[in-house]
Amino acid sequence: MTDHDLHTLTGAYAADALDPVERDVFERHLESCDSCQAEVRELQAATARLAVGVSATPPAALRDRVLAEVARTRQLSPDGEVVRLADRRSRPWYRQPATAAAAVLLVVAVGLGGFAVHEGRQKADAQRLAERIAAVAVDPQRTVHTAPVVHGGTGTVVAADGIAVFHGSDLPRLPEGQAYQLWRMSGQESQSAGVLGRGGELTGVVTGLGPGDAVGVSVEPSAGSSHPTSDPVFVVKPA
């Protein structure tokens, strides 16, 4: 799925026609996509009119009940971020993700924020990465694999359309001079997909994944290696 595909989700988003995982991923994408925000606002203005177009007379008792409840309901203070998080939590979907895949994708998406900052990447790079991850996460054909990482922690691979997103959590911190490196493994060949970091929450993207290819992680010198110099600590075949 390309960025263009992701942008075309503005309509489905405005019509509330995304499943919970996609909705969350798309909302994260929105935060970094000004043109999508503008379009979503316009399309939501149109859907609001669809609502007005089906106005119906509510039961008279509703007014009394609403006014009575309002009279005993405290208004929020105008202080954005904290309550926004609370609002998110109050959504039934996020309290209990319906599927394991949902939980995994949320973890990947959440990890991404930390990734951009932690790795000190350029904003544009981080945005591109965010878009690629988002595209994989909303692909209906995506596969999700989770496996333990040797020495500790868990790795998850979400893959679709030749792209795989690796997310490692609780990875043991490596000694100075070492780092986790991500690989695309085709038979005996391994192609580096980047150095991830020394531990904790780490995210990376593998591209050009062919049928039967695996996603692997090994411990390497912190500058990275051109091919794995130690046994992988994590291997998953997404296909």
């Binding site: 595909d5 316009e42 939501q44 203005a45 609001a48 609502a51 106005s55 509703l62 609403v66 309901t73």
Partner: protein, 210 residues
């Protein structure tokens, strides 16, 4: 044509103008509702009552359209309207009109209810009946809403068949775009695209301001 008309005591005048039967006034209505919502944000209970009278019909109407069940619809409408009061302080007029903010919230709540487990049975029945064509019944009987409904109906009819079915199955039927693709037996990408260009066409036809 000034969405930035100064607020304060001009509100009632503009509302009176808005109610005059001279066609849907796309500027005065939303502006007045925005003013009301700003007053609500400052804890003005009287403003909330006026706001209730302006939006309760459409909030309840769209929830009812999606959920069908009157008791559930009433419950969700109450939640949404109280939520408007509670979170009015978070409304940002720079990011869209009060009407968009309120109805987006209402529809989202209805959809969340549809997709929750207890509603799955009802939804399967709806899928079976493919009962998605808006019937425009139970109309709030005022000149203003009738004109509004007439315009929405005309604009919806102006869509291509696939655009109209994609938009209404999703928005009124409460289906995800994957479910819409299955119901219409067309590829996912087509449904996504038709939903988007259908809403763009609606936007242009309705002359909405974000």
């Amino acid at each position: 044509m000034s969405p930035t008309t100064p607020a304060a005591d001009g509100t009632m005048t503009r509302m009176a103008l808005r109610r005059a039967p001279r066609g849907p006034d796309l500027d005065a209505g939303p502006a007045a509702l925005d003013d009301l919502l700003h007053r609500v944000a400052r804890g003005d209970g009287a403003a909330f009552e006026l706001l209730y009278d302006r939006v309760a019909g459409s909030v309840y109407g769209v929830i009812r359209r999606v959920l069908r069940d009157p008791a559930q619809s009433e419950e969700v409408a109450q939640e949404v309207l109280v939520e408007v009061w509670r979170t009015a302080t978070r409304f940002d007029g720079g990011r869209g009109s009060a009407s968009t903010w309120i109805h987006t919230m209402a529809h989202r709540r209805a959809i969340d209810r549809v997709r929750s487990a207890q509603a799955s049975h009802d939804r399967e029945e709806r899928v079976a009946h493919r009962d998605h064509v808006p019937a425009y019944d139970e109309v709030v009987d005022t000149v203003e809403t009738r004109l509004e409904q007439e315009q929405v109906r005309r604009c919806v009819q102006g869509l291509t068949d696939l655009q109209r079915e994609s938009v209404t199955l999703a928005y009124y039927g409460g289906h995800t775009y994957q479910q819409v693709a299955e119901l219409l037996d067309v590829p996912l990408g087509t449904v996504k695209t038709r939903m988007r260009d259908g809403l763009i066409r609606l936007r242009d036809c309705l002359g909405v301001m974000a």
